[in-house]
Point group: C2
Chain length 213, copies 2
Amino acid sequence: MAGRTLGQVTEASLTRTEQKERTRRAILDASLALSAESTLAALSLRAVAKEVGVVPTAFYRHFGSVDEVGLALVDESFASLRALLRELRTGAPGYADLIDSSIQVLVEHVTTHRELFRFLVRERVAGPPRVRAAIGHEIALTTRELATDLARLPGTEGFATDDLRLLADLIVSFVGTTAERLVSEPEAAKRIAAGARVQLRMLMVGAVNWRSR
Amino acid sequence: MAGRTLGQVTEASLTRTEQKERTRRAILDASLALSAESTLAALSLRAVAKEVGVVPTAFYRHFGSVDEVGLALVDESFASLRALLRELRTGAPGYADLIDSSIQVLVEHVTTHRELFRFLVRERVAGPPRVRAAIGHEIALTTRELATDLARLPGTEGFATDDLRLLADLIVSFVGTTAERLVSEPEAAKRIAAGARVQLRMLMVGAVNWRSR
DNA sequence: GAGTTGAGTGCACAGACGTTCACTCAACTT
DNA sequence: AAGTTGAGTGAACGTCTGTGCACTCAACTC
């Protein structure tokens, strides 16, 4: 009630933790947006602060360095990615159109979280060591999960566990490449999706004919 | 003959153009080495100059900006890559062990040009726009070349040109992913190569069974 | 041998950078 | 009502950045 002095620029009279969380979010969003101009490594703390509308030193109340912002963004990205996988797993295990629906879900997710995916694709290979490691670790986990999923699918009976891991790895890599493409030319999403459907089919044909040749 | 005063630090009495080329090389090498610490975008002209052992302004005698160094490095990288492809094409077109020899040639090239490949892998997604575009263009060219190569291979008779392009694309992506891995953990080259051989085989099994299903 | 050229120098600049520190003052606790 | 807490402030620091400009002096041309 004593509020309304608009001492803080963002709205009036918020609880302390609400306001803190709001600034934290603003830092994450600003970092995501600004790093798209080049790289997280080339992103300056001061530029983030300016974008957020806060003095540079205020940054330290939320993160110890730009790298830490990167790690937080990785967590957010993979929360979104796990949601994608859950959606795919629970989605009706229809016959062969699992491929089509998988690609469709992928396209949708990349489209709605374009900035996060762009961030992941970029920082996976170009990020600061800790960020790179975090992304690599999450991808490794996802690959393992996919391998156990694949084991439950018909057509993989004759697979040794090693080969199952390699197949999962191949699929994850392919999905990564496709996401990469969707991110870099969003206007071509239709064409990319069409190509990806064919390619994933080629790949799966190889998989089911693998042990049986 | 009037030389030997060692006016320039690097050796004595070189022709003007020799000396210039030598400095240019040093700039390229230093940029490649230093950019590995993070990114080309985060590389400073002054750091390069210091590494080369030259005053910052001397840089401008050779390149207009760090981006231009990047473009020159892209040219060099793809010169090396085309050499790889030529080696593969002329290499005895043995039956199925074309896969094994391809992977072997890939491993060798990535190993001997690790820094260049690391640069390509990184800047392809994280580089300055012009550098990214240059790399993307070269990869597109390579994919087209591979598609025409594939057309000459037995087993691709029933392929529509579209599908041939998609297959080539799939293979190029796979090779890229493999190169990426070789670059990031060189000590695991043996394991990576073994996995890649199996994966490429899976992929090709899918290809030959593609139209015939 | 005299004159031109151009790679590399050295200084100077204005601006951006990360980090420090003592501070304010509104939201909280008691 | 009085006291504590902590997100955000603002000035200051030393260092690094890209770039401009006038320069040297060895390799070149004629």
